[in-house]
Amino acid sequence: MHLRISVSDLSKLDILVRGRVGESHLLLGNEAVARGALEGGVSVATTYPGTPSSEIADTIALMAREAGIYMEYSTNEMVALEVAAGASISGARAICSMKMVGLNVASDALMTLAYTGVRGGLVVISADDPDCFSSQNEQDNRYYALLANVPCLEPSNAQEAKDMLLSALRLSEEFELPVMLRLVTRVSHARKPVVLGPVEARSRDMKFSRDVKRFVMVPSNARSRHLVLLEKMDRVKKAAEESSLNAVLGEGALGVVTSGVSFNYCMEALNLLDLRASVLKLGLVNPLPTGLIISFLKEHDPVIVVEELEPFLELHIRSIAQGADVRCRILGKLSHPSYLPRNGELSTRLVLSAISKVLDRPTPVDFHYIETGSRMAEALSPPRPPVLCPGCPHMASFHAIKVATGGKAVCATDIGCYALGAQPPLSVGDVMLCMGGSAGVSSGISKVVEEPVVGVVGDSTFFHASIPGLINAVYNKHEFVYVVLDNCTTAMTNFQPHPGTGVTGLGESSKQILIEDVAKGCGVDFVKVTDPYDLKHTISTIKEAVDYKGPAVVISRHKCAILESQERTAKGDEIIQFKIDEEKCTECMACIKSLGCPALAVTEGNVSIDSILCAGCGVCAQVCPYAAIRKG
């Protein structure tokens, strides 16, 4: 029996660092992973923030000082993995966390790190986002584990996320391989009671010892290291047969193979159907335990494979069945008919429907009836998509871009809050691909179209991946305006510092790297800084940039409205809000149509400013053609 206490007035730090072994606390999956880093004796934790992974590193940042962990917000995921690799090769345990698209950036390092292998345990944590809750795609990163040929563990909840990080660290050290821990949004952002475990001692053997054949991946060395990797993974595969990470639960003729979050939906569905079935839960999804799978296939028929996104397990299970000449009906996404979708997240409903279809039974809940009714209810609901916050300086910047280019510009936008500017009424943003991509995409567009081309990028994203694109633009003589929306923080993912802030993840002050200096260093001759709250100046600066021959950088800099309001509140400064002068207001709606600030509302044809929401930026007053908005 575990000692159960609740959060009480202990702070998060109290729980995570000072909590006692055996206590159970309500933790977010990502917080549980952070606790796992402490329990696992991790010395170095690196990251680039990205939803749904951010709270792992943010929580470690909170714990770092007291726990004696070095953590950093690296400039991007590849650098983060390189830093973690360097530490691990020198004997320290390290973790590197990122969202799934971050692994695209880090993949160059990962592919070869698999060859060199590691010394201190190194775990790459990939938080995938099935259903694109806050991502540009829903890629399934289990394929990266397959591509790099490294082990991959997949936990189903917060407790397992912590425990499997410990297993992954041990596995990594035992086989001297980087190991992937794959989370998904519903594990990272789900809270569950998590039982704290003991804190392991840090690795003792922290030193660098030279081994050129192993760590210098010139072709002659890489060839032999590839063989070493293949041999190591053969050994992991043998170990997988006996691993407690994989388990068979329950008994019945029907077999279910599943992993990660999907396991939960299977258990709920089987309970709702009151069905006896045998569930093979795979915690280690690469490499797969061939022997265990063969015997499971021999003992059950049919076998349904339940997994989110790609038919990763199913493909392998089919290949294993063919290789062993097992005749068993394998049902999933590749079968005809298919039973589960290859897109979006799974749910108990989807699994319930799939199993019911396999058994030719009605579902215990009439989903068809629910669907009809809920569609009517949803049709009645006005949409409420995420929007830029009241007083967000990006709103002013986007308005300025529109006015300065007469609304004619083609605009490549980038990853961050400002992607929301593509929505009406701002409607600035015609293409968005990947982190830092707007410089390159703008360059390509500018080679083809006559209209002015504007690239938009945030400050953290600028440092992350846009610099090679900017240098390319100078070198290859591309002509576009590159507007850096500098709100002095990484706002979208919860305000992490970056090189432009002059503060590190450990809260130490550091050299502040100015974007204008970087742009000049990249060879850009036109570099100007403006405050978007000064609309007139911002518009004229962007106009000047549009007329300039060659790449022009405009840094539109104003601190994020949320941060600014927090700082004001802390200082006790009053926010002077704006009001509508009803005598002067003609209800022309210019303010609403040009900014779409959430603090502006129309009730029965009259424009008003919400006194709770108004951040006092005064941009709407500058937009009003009748001077009907004034400081109240």
Binding site: S24, P52, F133, H189, R191, T348, F367, R384, L420, P425
Partner: protein, 197 residues
């Protein structure tokens, strides 16, 4: 003992996550298993926010099955509409009456339905509906920011939760800043009384 399934729906900034954390901590205190699933990031920027809360002896899925919610706790009337797929004739709907107008309505591209239309739609699913003026009650308690606790109190009054009021109050005490404690406890009682009538 069966599982209690709750949907908590509101708008970013209304305190949905704190309310569900209090429910989760109360569940742990009373030796239940619990899972709370929420969405961060993009969805928090003034957008619709929903949290799934599941409490029972052993819970697996982080999300509620459509049609099987015991209660939908709404911080805003339209936000409940969005999640009626989780309701059946057994579901209790407890919601704040106060509208939060989305920018799509201010800009004239969408319409906000009348409260009668909204409640009419609720009634297609269930007759167990409690509408409360959580905002005014929160102001009465001492701070508009205690609206979420008014709603937790109202939820407790419907007996949809498998735990005692004292446990919830203890969790509120542990989770809110000391200087707002009195207002929050009053908010809980006001919500409880309002929904009990």
């Amino acid at each position: 003992m069966s599982t209690t399934n709750l949907i908590v729906a509101g708008v970013g900034g209304q305190g949905v996550i704190l309310a569900t954390e209090i429910l989760g901590n109360a569940a742990i205190k009373e030796n239940f298993d619990v899972v709370i699933s929420e969405i961060h990031g993009m969805a928090q920027r003034g957008g619709a926010v929903v949290s799934h809360v599941r409490i029972g002896p052993k819970v697996y899925s982080p999300t509620v099955v459509e049609g099987l919610a015991d209660a939908i706790l709404g911080f805003e009337p339209v936000e409940v509409l969005r999640f009626l797929r989780y309701a059946s004739d057994r579901t209790r709907i407890i919601t704040s009456k106060r509208r939060v107008i989305p920018p799509s309505v201010s800009m004239g591209v969408a319409q906000y339905p009348s409260l009668e239309q909204i409640v009419g739609m609720y009634r297609r699913f269930t007759q167990h509906i409690t509408l409360i003026d959580a905002f005014t009650l929160a102001e009465e308690a001492g701070s508009a920011r205690t609206q979420n606790i008014v709603l937790v109190g109202a939820l407790a009054a419907t007996r949809a939760l498998p735990f005692k009021n004292d446990t919830l109050k203890a969790c509120i005490q542990e989770r809110v800043p000391r200087k707002y404690l009195e207002a929050n406890l009053k908010a809980f009682d006001l919500g409880y009384t309002e929904a009990s009538c």
